[in-house]
């Protein structure tokens, strides 16, 4: 299975609907400071079920909704859709392609969809379980957090291990 597409709309600095297509192999994301690269990584963790606003550098989950500029109004919601190829059937569904969507509104209300049908966070988590895609399985290695695993105390390091194993 592999990541095919990422659609970001109204999430953080991505005011307009933005689409990234992926192929097997190595994709590099580049650009100047503050242009939105880590926001792309945040959108992936978010659509995969990240529950901690702090883990996304925010105080509350609604902080991830595009909040406007001098020339643009703020968005009323944020939406991210991740599309995976399932040709090898490693996910327990008959589809060749699986898309997971997450939305959050200004009210704080959150929605999940699997292949456009309303689902619960629980369904999204079950879908990923066992394929190694849960966000605790190192599918995102974050800027500035690498040092911790080497400099932390033995007991803290144990906690990091438990998450992976």
């Amino acid at each position: 299975m592999y990541l095919k597409k990422l659609e970001i709309n109204g999430f953080k600095s991505f005011a307009d609907k933005t689409e990234l297509l992926f192929e097997p192999g190595i994709t590099s994301v580049v650009g100047p400071n503050g242009c939105g690269k880590t926001n792309v990584a945040d959108s992936v963790r978010w659509v995969m079920g990240e529950q901690s606003a702090k883990g996304l550098r925010a105080s509350e989950m609604t902080d991830v909704i595009f909040n406007g500029t001098d020339s643009r109004k703020a968005s009323s919601m944020a939406e991210v859709t991740l599309t995976l190829s399932n040709e090898d059937k490693s996910l327990p569904l008959e589809y060749d392609e699986i898309s997971i969507t997450r939305r959050v509104y200004r009210s704080g209300e959150s929605e999940y969809l699997i292949n456009k049908a309303i689902a619960r966070l629980k369904d999204v988590k079950e879908l990923f379980m066992g394929t190694g895609l849960g966000i605790s399985a190192y599918s995102v290695m974050a800027q500035g957090q690498m040092d911790q695993i080497v400099t932390s105390k033995p007991v803290e390091r144990r906690a990091i291990f438990e998450e992976a194993a």
Partner: protein, 161 residues
């Protein structure tokens, strides 16, 4: 359970020794259970010795050596249960050009079975990408993406949205 942890830990230990030696082109590193008698609670110690240097506490390693050791450990953990894709956000930032080269050499090998999306500022790292996405903020505060494919022939810049 105790057996699950012990066997997983043994695998990570093996992986870590191996990946460390590949990234440092020598030297030696170990993961150690501080309290072998209390497998389910024991803290985990790291010992790392770059080639030609004498063994000391990991705290005395340089910024770049710590980063390379962390990369070895994260990949050792990753190999236990590899995700189909993996996103790396500037983990090569503290590495000099030589170490970045060793890192991306390792990445190319892992990339045969795992899809990597690598955020980077390093020109050395960008070189192994099959596809490059440029993120820009031409309009202040609004991100836009431009893709530049590299796999076959000349790059073409084309706004994606």
């Amino acid at each position: 359970s105790k057996e699950l942890f012990t066997s997983t830990f043994a695998t990570v230990q093996e992986n870590f020794k191996d990946v460390f030696q590949r990234l440092f082109e020598g030297g030696r590193a170990e993961l150690i259970l501080i309290d072998e008698g209390d497998v389910l609670e024991s803290g985990i110690e790291i010992v790392a010795r770059p080639p030609g240097k004498r063994l000391q506490s990991v705290s005395l390693l340089s910024g770049g050596e710590k980063a390379l050791t962390a990369i070895a450990l994260l990949f050792a953990l990753f190999m236990v249960k590899p995700s189909p894709f993996c996103l790396l956000d500037e983990i090569d930032a503290p590495l000099d050009d030589v170490n970045t080269g060793r890192f991306i050499h390792l990445l190319k090998e892992f990339a045969k079975r795992t899809q990597f999306i690598m955020i980077t500022h390093s020109k050395v790292s960008m070189e192994i990408a099959d596809v490059i996405y440029g993120v820009t903020m031409q309009e202040a505060g609004v991100s836009k993406i431009i893709s530049t494919k590299f796999k076959e022939g000349a790059p073409e810049g084309a706004p994606v949205s």
